[in-house]
Amino acid sequence: MRGARGLAFAAVVFAALLTACARTFELGGQLSPEPRPRGTSGLRAGFGRADITPPAGVGLGGNSSEGLRAHGYRLRLYARALLLEDPDGNRLALVVADLPVGSALLHRRAAALTAIADSIGLDRLVIAVTHTHSGPGHYSEAAFFNDQGSSVVGYDPVLLDSLARRIAAAVHAAKLDLQNAKAAWGSRPIWGQTRIRSLPALLRNLPPPVAPPDAPDSLALEYRLINPTLTMLRIDQRDPVTGRYRPAGAFSVFAMHGTGNASANELFDADLHGLVERRLEQHIDRDLNQHTVPSFVPEASHLFANGAEGDVSPAWPAASRCAVPVAAPWSLLAGPFIQPLWQWKPIPDTDAAACLRAARQSVERIGNAVGEEAIKLFDSLDGELTERLELARAFRTLALRQDAESLGICRVPAFGMSTFAGSADGPGRTNRWRPLGLLSLSMEQGASNPGARGCQGAKHQFLDVLFGGLPNKLAVSPKIPSFAQVSVFRIGNRLIGTVPGEVTTTAGRRMQASMLAELRRPGTSTDSALILGLANGHLGYVTTAEEYAAQWYEGGETLYGPGEAAMFGRALAGLTTELSGGDALPPSTARTISVFPGTRRALLHPGQARPAVPRFERGWCAHDTLYVDYRLGSVQDWPAASPFTASPNLEVLRDSLVVAWDDDPSVELHLRSLRQHPARWQLRWSGARSGVTYRIRLRGRLEGAPIGC
């Protein structure tokens, strides 16, 4: 073991040296200017969106070492923006992006652009993410999430800047779309589609959690202890031509991990949230506004954000989770005279195909079910729309390390060894791994360290069994964010607290209670509070002190110790008392932050995108799947060349009618090589019928030969 210990120490020192070589930089924050009253009454609202599906080649963030390099896409990734403006000129921009995690770096970069173009600075811009684990990594302010968010390591400033520009463009489009509007809040419980994934940790809470009275008795306990509330703000805009109000879109919040897809997925995909978004958008366009011809980009927008989803999984079946690679001797050409190397032995292709198929089935089932509930809620709000919607905001940047003592958190952040296990949604390859099968390094959920002293208490830190707290201080702690941006918004009679992380169900309830406690003072009209997680940054998970003590996966990734949830509760409560509108916030609220995104890596090469003549190579059918090999563009092309040019790259035609395009859950576009030019693609459409002839159209122009199925 001495040799292993020496090698492990060398690895830690090597990682520390790499950490020291990467660059830290300071980043200021641009606040909104003082708003100017409009001079007209009533609410105005506008929607905008930008296609943010990046080129292939980057890592799919969220599944850590199991997140693969992207080789194509299924549902396009979008940033949807809703801009609200009250008569006093107060603006609030809500953005929900189909991305894995929030990023303060992305938030500040985008706000720098929207502050100039649209007078929307940090304090009035929320960038929340759906938490799809099939979106790109590499844009975080923290090296840890760039390096360990997927199997592809590194921070890519080109990707970050592209995302920031596209998100800012979506906000600008929303400003251009501002119309007189009516709005209504509503909520509805959704049971049976989500469950608590870390039940033993949740049950540690005191007082013990109790299922809501309307929880169906037929459901298992982990399904009944969730927060089932889907909360929605419906927006109807006044048509400038007819003068009549028509349904335009919605902003809604529901707690559910974006982990419908299996970890073996290698396609960009908006996952469950993408289906829920599209279900309501199609309903508004087709059923409510009678648009008979569907447009590639829906006219309506549904911003479907995540709530306190830290410990909430979608109700996927066990078959939809893929096995993980195992450490095994790699006998490839080892021969009798040479030692075999070691490898992470991948799972067989057939096993991967099976779990991917099971996952896609459950994504469609859950996505459509939640989408139907969203439609019901949207329709139910028809009679409650009002033109009055008061807007206020409060914003603060917390210096977590510098002010750790006063905030009640640990000065040195740490990842727990239980995070090596992965979560129930995405187990890691080191889950329950013990050297020689005997020695515990606490790489398992629930591996707490009850007798431990120190601020991090029950957490087993990185290799602390061997070296105490040194590896964490040298190689882990510098890669963790040292600040948090928190905000509270009042939109009508609802409060929204934003947290830069994944808040567990109980922690979320406590934060809501803290905010509402401040509102029970006389003169306030707000009656409920929401937690909007994964917003304006990412700090991992936020668990209660009791859950933290259990050191389940979420507790292991509660970086600043057991006091973190209480700290956020206090911060949100404090901000609730500071809510204001019609003013400009003092610069101290958006203090300069120190950013350490880690080693730069040029995963995207915009200069390498070059034109190419598209062409079909061959097409065929097998069972219900239509396959087409074709060449289109360059590997480094974004599927939508600019934020506003989202259009189909490929359409499936039957009798000249478009039956599918490349933003459809049954259409997959696989990039077959990351190097060849023009890019080699394969379409796989699983909606083909036997006896029917199809044609394929590329970029709206080139049509291929008929393909009989």
Binding site: G3, A4, L7, A8, A11, S64, S65, D147, Q148, S151, V152, V153, P325, V326, A327, A328, P329, W330, S331, L332, L333, A334, G335, P336, F337, I338, Q339, L341, W342, Q343, W344, K345, P346, F420, G428, R429, T430, W433, R434, P435, L436, G437, S673, L674, R675
Partner: protein, 290 residues
């Protein structure tokens, strides 16, 4: 004529099938491995054959079709420093560096967690006999059969060797390896512990066959060994292959007079040696990150 035509058709079909099954995805199934290892001792079947500064380059090529792999390779053993007459050397105390060549060929078959391997190895010695080296008269050949299982934490393996040329006899080697540490993010890093035991079944002197050479002194256990190996995947070229740096530390308890031999007039019950090397793997499975 008709029969000839149908035979030709069948041959054509067979050729097309082979072309489709084999040559078509050739680039995906062919692989090559190049190793350069340096160590301070060369030990084979528990027998110390050379000590000093050694360099062992090896080249192997293979072709995989589903679970079946055909592979062949060459290993060369160079002694870089000059040996004195009583020191352990395949070359003897003369000039030159190349002590031994090994040619091998094998077929591997993997079925889930179990694998089977069968092959042959040819040993060519280049030492100068009058100066205490192992010369061409010792050249020999062995066949082998191995079976292994890869399960979490434990990878047991059993090898049966049979010398078919100058020694004529069997040797069994049982080994087990276990990963101690595996870093899940690229660049991957592994540390593994392995142990082995050797059993001589018929490679000792045989009075009935005085012309046969012997590898060991007696029947029975020849040695037990324990090793700690690390492998650091320093570079991966997507679609092409990877490069690794390997370090090893190995200790052995010698149980047979032949394995204890450490040069003229010298014996050792326990030996230890270090090795360091670079491996380049190209094609096949190495094209994807592992």
């Amino acid at each position: 004529m008709v029969e000839d035509a149908s035979q030709l058709t069948a041959i054509h079909r067979g050729l097309w099938f082979l072309l489709w099954a084999g040559v078509g995805p050739l680039h995906a199934q062919a692989s090559a491995r190049f190793d350069v290892t340096t160590s301070n001792r060369y030990v084979w079947h528990g027998l110390s054959r050379a000590a000093g500064v050694l360099l062992q380059p090896s080249l192997a090529v293979g072709y995989q079709f589903h679970g079946l792999t055909l592979a062949s390779g060459l290993v060369r053993h160079y002694e870089l420093d000059r040996a004195s007459p009583d020191e352990l050397s395949e070359l003897g105390s003369g000039t030159g560096h190349l002590g031994e060549d090994n040619l091998w060929g094998q077929v591997d078959f993997a079925l889930g967690t179990v694998w089977l391997r069968s092959g042959f190895a040819r040993y060519l010695f280049h030492g100068v006999v009058p100066q205490g080296g192992s010369g061409p008269l010792r050249n020999t050949a062995e066949t082998y059969l191995a079976v292994g299982v890869a399960i979490a934490y434990l990878n047991p393996q059993l090898e049966a060797w049979w010398d078919v040329d100058r020694v004529k006899g069997g040797f069994l080697r049982a080994s087990v390896s276990s990963p101690v540490m595996g870093w899940p993010f690229a660049p991957f890093f592994f540390v593994a512990l392995d142990g082995e035991v050797g059993l001589n079944l018929g490679q000792a002197p045989d009075p009935a066959q005085p012309d046969n050479l012997a590898n060991f002194s007696d029947r029975g256990l020849t040695h037990t060994a324990l090793g700690l190996n690390s492998s650091f995947r320093v570079r991966h070229w997507p679609g092409l292959g990877s490069a690794s740096i390997n370090l090893g530390l190995r200790g052995q308890l010698n149980l047979d007079d032949a394995t204890r031999y450490d040069g003229i007039g010298r014996t050792r019950h326990v030996i230890a040696w270090l090795s360091a090397g670079v491996t380049l793997l190209l094609g096949g499975e190495a094209r994807t990150v592992r």
